[in-house]
């Protein structure tokens, strides 16, 4: 276990102590600054206005989002709507170079004299997961702080929403990091891994959906695609152990198992 922990820790320094990590963090911070400054700040003002809320009820019912209107901190509700789609992309971008460049450079050869391939895979996955958790925590607390600033009296009752959002964002991001681990073993570079993710996911989704119209059991194949439950997650009214929470977890295990299988057989 100590090897996994050291590899995991090193991944954190890769983000926070290197130039590439710094640039990624800066880009992330700028994007979220805009999200907080405009949609979250503005939209939460609008959502918290009861007269306007009545007008958009019909719209939100159509999308099955009316439960968001009931959240104590509308800032968290709007943050959740953005984050649920932003963090899968963030997870892929941040974790796109788990193994590829080290394998090309031969650096993995130095590391593999001291730990097993499985330890390396799991250590790097957990490192990336910790990075994404830290980014989720930072942005989530910022959204919570905005709500707290507007109405401190609702803080205690908003805690459950805070946990709900944090837990679900983590679950949503996990399979994306695991898929990137897998793609990093197959692809020669981090850029190719990202490109493959962009190409393969929508194409796979389209093909399976198309085939599913002829033979409906094939629709179950959609369950292997990460992000398949994103819309369901947004529509989920409260924290519960449902298909939406279990599927990303199972996907993560399956992708990591596949990555492990490939990595142990690959020449490095």
């Amino acid at each position: 276990m100590h090897s996994i922990w050291h590899i995991c820790q090193f991944e954190l320094t890769r983000l926070f102590l290197t130039k590439r990590g710094g640039v990624l963090l800066l880009a992330f911070a700028i994007i979220w600054l805009f999200i907080f400054k405009y949609p979250v700040l503005q939209a939460s003002n609008i959502l918290s206005d009861s007269s306007f809320g009545d007008n958009i009820t019909a719209f939100s019912q159509q999308l099955n989002l009316q439960h968001l209107m009931e959240w104590n901190y509308s800032e968290l509700a709007i943050y959740w709507l953005f984050a649920v789609f932003a963090f899968p992309i963030t997870a892929v971008l941040m974790s796109s170079d788990q193994l590829a460049s080290d394998a090309n450079r031969g650096t993995l050869r130095f590391i593999l004299l001291r730990c097993s391939r499985s330890q390396l895979l799991v250590g790097r996955f957990l490192g990336q997961l910790l990075i994404v958790i830290s980014l989720i925590t930072m942005t989530l607390l910022a959204a919570f702080a905005m709500g707290l600033y507007r109405d401190p009296s609702l803080a205690m009752s908003a805690i459950s929403e805070l946990i709900f959002v944090g837990f679900n964002l983590l679950l949503i991001a996990m399979p994306f990091i695991a898929v990137t681990s897998l793609l990093n073993i197959v692809m020669k570079s981090s850029k190719l891994s990202i490109v493959m993710m962009i190409i393969v996911l929508p194409i796979s989704h389209s093909i399976i959906s198309y085939l599913g119209t002829y033979f409906s059991p094939l629709d179950h194949l959609l369950l292997i695609l990460p992000g398949i439950g994103l819309i369901d997650a947004v529509q989920m009214p409260q924290l519960e152990l449902s298909q939406t929470t279990v599927i990303p977890f199972l996907q993560t295990i399956a992708y990591l198992a596949a990555a492990q299988l490939l990595l142990t057989r690959r020449a490095l």
Partner: protein, 300 residues
């Protein structure tokens, strides 16, 4: 003496191409071994299998009694893989300390060990540098330093002096000589002169086959010959040598260099007699080597 490396019937295919063909050998502890052969002979493939970077298509490999890549070998086996580089984004210190921690060192011990191995390769001043700030030779020495972290029983060096200037190559040779006895080395190189100085066992790979295994610097044949290199062209030298009764045959390698065969049982002090003969006849020489050179042993 216990077994250091044991390979039995190793085959390795890359698609339809066979890189290693039924390679079998056994090395005992306490040896420094040279892995030689022409380009494409399979040296790096064999090296990669020993380090668990590649899996053999068939056959059994055992290092210190364990399968390559098993937990028991972490920290016991060090290696300088050919062309492998450290991560250019991190200081050398960060990377070597990580490697030491992976071998079980605490943070403080890892810092001390990192300093120690860099001192061994005479690069302690570069501890805070990134690999990109170092010359090719210095980067190679840092890579050798990583192979020495802890107290490895076996260190495998793939082309350790390739591309280095003579001074750096000499530093690495001296480093290997200094550690000889404490560490078992397996060195892959094209430089036979270098290997001759460093190694006592030779594995020769040709077209994926282990065609020869010489154990010990002096085979029976080699012990009955010397290699004489003369100073410039000396036309009368061959005649003088042929008249010397201790010499059974004079085999010229070129105009200046000769292999002299003799009967070691009848002339145990042959080398002294030969030097006296050369001095008496005013034949000046540059080098007298006991036995055949590694190049002669392997390729003549």
């Amino acid at each position: 003496m216990s077994t250091l490396i044991s390979c039995q019937g190793i085959n390795k295919f890359y698609g339809s191409k066979q890189a290693l063909r039924d390679v079998s050998f056994e090395l005992e502890q306490g040896t420094t071994t040279a892995l030689v052969g022409p380009n494409g002979a399979g040296k790096t493939t064999l090296f990669s299998i020993l380090c668990n970077y590649h899996l053999p298509s068939s056959g059994q490999v055992s290092i210190l009694g364990h399968k390559p890549g098993s937990n028991a070998l972490f920290g016991q086996v060090g290696a300088l893989p050919q062309d492998a580089q450290l991560d250019p984004r991190f200081a050398i210190k960060h990377q070597l300390e990580l490697y030491a921690k992976l071998q079980g060192y605490s943070t403080k011990q890892a810092r001390i060990e990192c300093q120690r191995v860099l001192e061994v390769v005479d690069l302690s001043q570069t501890i805070n540098e990134r690999p990109g700030a170092l010359s090719h030779g210095m980067r190679k020495r840092v890579s050798i330093a990583q192979a020495l972290i802890g107290e490895p029983k076996l260190v495998m060096l793939d082309e350790p002096t390739a591309g280095l200037d003579p001074a750096n190559a000499k530093n690495i040779r001296q480093l290997v000589m200094a550690l000889n006895g404490q560490v078992n080395f397996v060195i892959s190189s094209h430089n036979l002169d270098e290997l001759e100085k460093l190694c006592d066992t030779v594995l020769l790979l040709e077209q994926g086959k282990l065609s020869q295994q010489k154990v010990g610097q002096l085979s029976t044949e080699a012990s009955r010959s010397v290699t004489l290199l003369l100073e410039g062209n000396q036309d009368n030298a061959v005649e003088i040598l042929k008249q010397f009764p201790s010499i059974t045959t004079v085999a010229p390698l070129n105009k200046q260099e000769f292999i002299l065969h003799y009967d070691a049982t009848e002339h145990p002090s042959f080398d002294i007699e030969l030097l006296q003969l050369l001095a008496k006849n005013n034949v000046s020489y540059r080098q007298l080597t006991k036995g055949l050179s590694l190049e002669q042993q392997l390729f003549s």
